[in-house]
């Protein structure tokens, strides 16, 4: 993703900041300004708790260029407790331990670096709950 695009979406990627629809109360992630439930304008920021459950998962052995140095890694669709579904990597867990239905929580981790001299991309991943 380009630098401006990374910058535009930083709050979403660092902290799962989405929107709540002022009309029907639906929680929306990622933010899109029009509520997908009731089609009314939705622009009030909403910070998700980060807690969710694994809906599905897969293990990436062959990754795209930027993610090559991190392979193998697990990815998952996570159903957030507030409703929306997000897709992200799983971290701090062995792929063999992952199960559909596993409760997870969001953490902010390195996604990739644009080389040794370039920008570091950070974003949300999910891991088994701690503590």
């Amino acid at each position: 993703m380009s630098l401006p695009a990374v910058w535009r979406t930083r709050k979403q990627r660092y902290s799962l900041v989405g929107e709540v629809c002022s009309k029907c109360g639906a929680k929306i992630f990622p933010p899109r300004d029009v509520c997908p439930e009731c089609s009314k304008p939705a622009q009030t920021p909403y910070s998700f708790s980060g807690r969710g459950v694994v809906y599905s998962f897969a293990v990436v052995y062959q990754a795209s260029e930027e993610f090559e140095e991190y392979a193998p890694y697990a990815v998952a669709m996570v159903k957030l407790e507030e409703g929306p579904m997000v897709t992200a990597q799983l971290t701090d867990v062995d792929p063999e331990e992952v199960k559909v239905g596993m409760p997870v929580e969001m953490v902010t981790r390195k996604l990739y670096e644009e080389g040794e001299g370039g920008v570091i991309h950070y974003g949300y991943k999910f891991r088994p709950r701690v503590g």
Binding site: Y61, E65, M77, V100
Partner: protein, 388 residues
């Protein structure tokens, strides 16, 4: 919506799918176009639509419409590149169809072409993911294969399937490709090999993923009323329909349902006036076995969660209830991205002309052809009717 005229396919041309180090994207396309025009015996071309997914990224050439018209002997003909990720070829066909059906052009060439081998393999892999959500899927480490793997795992979890249950799709495709001179992989594979193949993104393995390579295929369209002047066995485009769905998989109402495939197929059946039972063969988009299973369900050949059973029970073979991938499908004929949709149509035309040789589906008269862009975000469906 009223069509003005019926549209026929009067010529086809194909290149072998594979690594064409010695041909540029223009040369590849030109070869297929010249072949199709020869098959159609036409002397004038009114429009050229070029289906292509990634020419800018991988072949470092945009403006493909003009580039290919120029090199194919079609200088001055109006020409456009049409892009809808994996459905680019089918989308190009749809636009060509609309031009003829709407009475705005008589002779339209639709060419699908993709040249991936000029780019290093890593760039090709990354580029395949330009058709998924860049901000909320790709940036987080997901690829097109990974999204398909997520669908497959959930499907296996909800319906209780194992990896071996999907083998039939790949085994069938390879079996059929043996008789297709244009196919990339013509070797047979076994269920055992499928189950033991190395994982790419688990649960999708090397024998589950369709190979991406170079290729070009072209078809010539003209109004049905003129078709017999050019082609003894014209194939009628009975219907053409397309739909989109959310770009991101996580935004789907039901991630295990290809809603765009269902909507476009339903519309295509409606316009053509037929039902799934009437379909003699289905050139579906088997980029991955899970897509084949879900496509069969969305097009009405199996209940939800039962698409895989058709493969398990051999119903998808040439003499089965619903033959698919009759010339190898994406899995074995290959997947030259933007060209694939046109290959699917060319193969269906061969079947409907009864020119498919050892792969001929008996009495083939109605063919359903469907292409999928991204992880189901664009689906284009055509129904073709044979001449007899």
């Amino acid at each position: 919506m009223m069509r003005k005229r019926e549209v026929a396919i009067i010529g086809i041309g194909q290149s072998k799918v594979g690594e064409h180090w010695d041909k540029s994207i223009r040369q590849l396309a030109s070869e297929a176009i010249v072949s199709a025009i020869k098959d159609a015996k036409i002397e004038r071309v009114d429009m050229l639509y070029v289906g292509n997914a990634l020419s800018g990224e991988l072949a470092l050439q945009e403006h493909l419409g003009a580039a290919i018209a120029d090199f194919s002997g079609l200088r001055t003909v109006e020409a456009y590149k049409v892009e809808a990720a994996g459905a680019s070829g089918a989308a190009a066909l749809r636009l060509g169809y609309l031009a003829v059906a709407g009475g705005l052009a008589d002779f339209v060439v639709v060419c699908g072409v993709e040249k991936v081998t000029d780019a290093p393999a890593e760039r090709v892999n990354s580029a395949l993911s330009l058709g998924i959500d860049g901000e909320y899927e790709r940036e987080l480490g997901l690829s097109l294969i990974a999204l398909n793997a997520l669908i497959m795992r959930r499907y296996m979890y909800e319906y209780g399937y194992e990896l071996r249950d999907f083998a039939g799709f790949s085994v069938n495709a390879h079996k059929n490709a043996a008789n297709n001179p244009y196919a990339m992989f013509r070797n047979p594979i076994t269920e055992k090999a499928f189950v033991e193949a190395r994982m790419v993104v688990e649960p999708i393995n090397l024998l589950d993923s369709s190979p991406v390579a170079d290729g070009a295929a072209a078809v010539v369209l003209c109004p049905m009323e003129m078709a017999k002047d050019f082609q003894a066995k014209p194939v009628r485009i009975a219907s053409s329909a397309a739909a989109t769905d959310t770009l991101a998989l996580h935004d789907r109402k039901d991630p295990l349902f290809l809603e765009a495939a269902y909507l476009s197929a339903r519309r295509a059946y409606e316009i053509a006036g037929i039902k799934p039972e009437d379909v003699d063969l289905f050139e579906l988009y088997d980029s991955f076995t899970i897509m084949a299973a879900l496509s069969l369900e969305a097009a009405g050949f199996a209940e939800r969660g039962q698409g895989v059973r058709l493969a398990m029970e051999g119903q998808i073979s040439l003499d089965g209830r619903i033959p698919i991938s009759t010339m190898g499908g994406l899995k074995a004929r290959g997947n030259p991205l933007g060209a694939t949709g046109v290959y699917q149509v060319a193969e269906a035309v061969l079947q409907l002309r009864h020119e498919a040789g050892p792969n001929q589906v008996k009495d083939a008269h109605w063919a359903l052809v469907q292409s999928i862009g991204g992880v189901g975000s664009t689906v284009v469906t055509h129904i073709l009717e044979g001449p007899d």
